[in-house]
């Protein structure tokens, strides 16, 4: 055996052990399932159901609730991040749902390292990098390729939509409308939910819930006056209502497993 053959064998052996070490470090992986729920006062939100408006108690019906959720990431105890997905479209009121109960969109992410995590975080909306592109920049299977949620006038995706109608005089006809559509980079928010999370083979799924009753509450705990601010502005220079909505999401969002 000449010295070159000997070196080649050593090199091959080292690469074999290096691969083995890497595999050990990566450890086993599993599927992790995440469900999104829309709630109102802790109960599953229903389409066409009348809820008491938060100030005057007249009937309020939610008609639309959907949101882009970006960069879903698990965080380990030593702050290592494991990204589960770039972006998903979470629609709680799909047109062809079989019931009026809000849908519970469920996503399963494969190849997630098994173990314990201390938090889950995600972006509410579309992160600025992706939001800077238009739908033709994404492959057809991406939710961002669908131009129907792209706001051309603002060069932005429509991040979140919540719509409701109210009937203040209780005569069966709508007389109040609430339209909260958010979009543009300044209203992109990252929400971090700190709670022990375990990923394991055949492990428990996680659930992220948005409670709309908790959403329309001012920071001081008083009800947000939806009647006074019934719609997000159509001006990029006036994001007051949109900023309230996206900032309030952190108090309306919870995770459990």
């Amino acid at each position: 055996m000449n010295k070159y053959s000997f070196l080649a064998i050593i090199a091959l052996s080292m690469s074999f052990f290096a691969c083995k070490d890497q595999r050990l470090e990566e450890g086993p992986v599993a599927d992790f399932t995440l469900t999104f729920k829309a709630l109102y006062d802790g109960a599953q939100l229903e389409k066409s159901k009348e809820y008491p408006y938060n100030i005057n108690n007249y009937p309020l019906v939610f008609t639309l609730f959907r949101s882009y959720i970006s960069d879903i990431t698990l965080v380990t105890d030593n702050d290592k991040e494991v990204k589960l997905k770039d972006v998903i479209d979470v629609n709680f009121f799909p047109t062809f749902a079989s019931t009026n109960l809000s849908a519970t969109p469920t996503f399963t992410f494969s190849g997630v390292p098994e173990g314990n995590y201390k938090a889950i975080k995600f972006g509410l909306g579309v992160n600025p990098e992706s939001n800077g592109k238009s739908p033709n920049a994404f492959p057809a299977e991406s939710p961002l390729s669908s131009e129907i949620e792209y706001w051309q006038g603002w060069a932005s995706y429509i991040f979140t939509k919540i719509e409701a109608v109210g009937d203040a005089d209780n005569n069966g006809l709508s007389d109040h409308w609430m339209i909260y559509h958010t979009g543009s980079d300044p209203v992109y928010r990252t929400i971090t939910l700190t709670q022990p999370i375990t990923v394991a083979a055949n492990g428990q799924p996680g659930t992220i819930s948005f409670d709309l009753k908790k959403l329309f509450v001012n920071p001081d705990g008083t009800p947000y006056d939806m009647e006074a601010s019934p719609a997000t502005s159509s001006s990029l220079t006036d994001l007051r209502v949109a900023l309230f909505v996206v900032d309030a999401f952190s108090q309306a969002t919870s995770f459990n497993q």
């Binding site: 019906v61 062809f96 792209y150 409308w177 001006s235």
Partner: protein, 388 residues
């Protein structure tokens, strides 16, 4: 003696050969079934949809990839009266290129002279409608493949049956070859309604804007000078683009919420767009989406249509009640009728105008903008015309 032995050996060999041959005849191999179309070459070529660069990628179902032969078969079927019971009507009867793939009638009329309930929807850019949105005014078909099956057997449309249509197609001198080339089937027996629908769907997916409208010129260049002043004002109100255009003294017309950005198809899907002042939801004459979902709140809701080439596809609304764009815009300026399931954005039409009301100029500017969506190239595209 030696010759005698040779003769015996020769006889033995001969007998053996005869026995083997006999055995073959007693236990014959099963006959190879040669399909009646197998001699026709099957050489599928991927068909790439010609779309403007600024349009998004079209989702194509994995079980119906686009091929040149599939598109050609679909085109022929689309224009062929063979699909109707009496041979007088085709898909194109209600979806003519010159009407931007509508028939320009308030409601379509079938082979028996019976008028349908609804106006034919434009097929322009129909391939962009995703299954979760649905097709027809009420979403009763999820995919183009599903949709293509329905008019043939509808008693107020083609009033035929698929078994009848397939018999005619199998007996036709041309179609078996085209099915073979499109789908690689080996015999006429394998020609099915599902394959016919797939082919029609492939053709419908190529009905895509040419990108030559004035609006597309703007999208390509982002140069507001493409528009005249009134068109630009219309654009600004349509898309709430006050910040983008710098024209801040115009109201919001709220149009884009239901008529998305590029293909101008459907934003929030199905709406009660404020046409009828019914006392209760049960009073809608045409219950629309409710007929599919059975949900109380879906009564009187219809899918928002594609506005591309809207000036070419009159009349308007699901029942063709409006003859002109002026009537359409006038209706939206009324902000609905207050019916409980009306879309909340109707109430916001004209937001920021004096008294939150669109003026005559605002309405005129919106209509001028709608005319910038006119795309005559797609209407005249030779790939989309009748092959007959």
């Amino acid at each position: 003696m030696r010759n005698n032995i040779k003769s015996k050996i020769a006889v033995l060999i001969l007998m053996t050969v005869v026995c083997i041959s006999a055995c073959d005849k007693m236990n014959p191999e099963p006959p190879v079934v040669v399909g009646d179309l197998e001699n026709i070459p099957y050489l599928p070529q991927v068909y790439t949809i010609k779309k403007p660069a600024h349009f998004p990628q079209m989702p194509i179902p994995a079980d119906n990839p686009m091929t040149s032969d599939g598109v050609q078969l679909g085109r022929r079927l689309f224009y062929d009266n063979i699909l109707s019971a009496d041979g007088t009507m085709s898909c194109a009867s209600c979806h003519l290129p010159q009407g931007s793939f509508t028939d320009n009638k308030p409601v379509s009329v079938g082979i028996d002279g019976i008028a349908g309930r609804r106006s034919a929807m434009s097929l322009l850019n129909i391939g962009y409608i995703r299954p979760e949105i649905g097709l027809f005014w009420d979403g009763r078909a999820k995919t183009l493949e599903e949709q293509a099956l329905l008019p043939v057997e509808d008693p107020i449309e083609m009033h035929s049956t698929w078994p009848n249509v397939m018999e005619k197609l199998k007996a036709d001198p041309t179609y078996p070859t085209l099915f073979r080339k499109a789908f690689g089937i080996s015999s006429r027996a394998q020609m099915t309604k599902e394959l016919a629908a797939k082919a029609i769907a492939q053709f419908e997916r190529i009905i895509v804007s040419s990108g030559s409208s004035k609006y597309d010129e703007f999208l390509k260049t982002r140069d507001f000078m493409v528009f005249d002043d009134e068109e630009l004002d219309g654009y600004t109100m349509f898309f709430e683009a006050q910040v983008e255009t710098g024209i801040t003294n115009l109201p919001d017309a709220q149009c884009f919420h239901c008529h998305g950005a590029l293909t101008m198809t459907s934003g929030n899907l199905y709406f009660n767009n404020g046409l009828d002042a019914v006392p209760t939801l049960n009073n809608f004459t045409d219950k629309g989406l409710f007929e599919v979902t059975s949900k109380e709140g879906d009564q009187g809701k219809f899918r928002s249509p594609n506005l591309r080439n809207i000036a070419k596809s009159a009349p308007y609304m699901h029942d063709g009640r409006f003859q002109t764009l002026e009537q359409v815009v006038e209706n939206y300026a009324l902000k609905g009728k207050g019916v409980s399931n009306e879309d909340p954005l109707l109430n916001q039409v004209g937001l920021n105008a004096i008294n939150n009301t669109l003026t005559a100029y605002h309405k005129s500017a919106l209509i001028k903008f709608l005319h910038t969506l006119t795309d005559t190239q797609v209407i005249n595209n030779p790939d989309l015309q009748s092959p007959f």
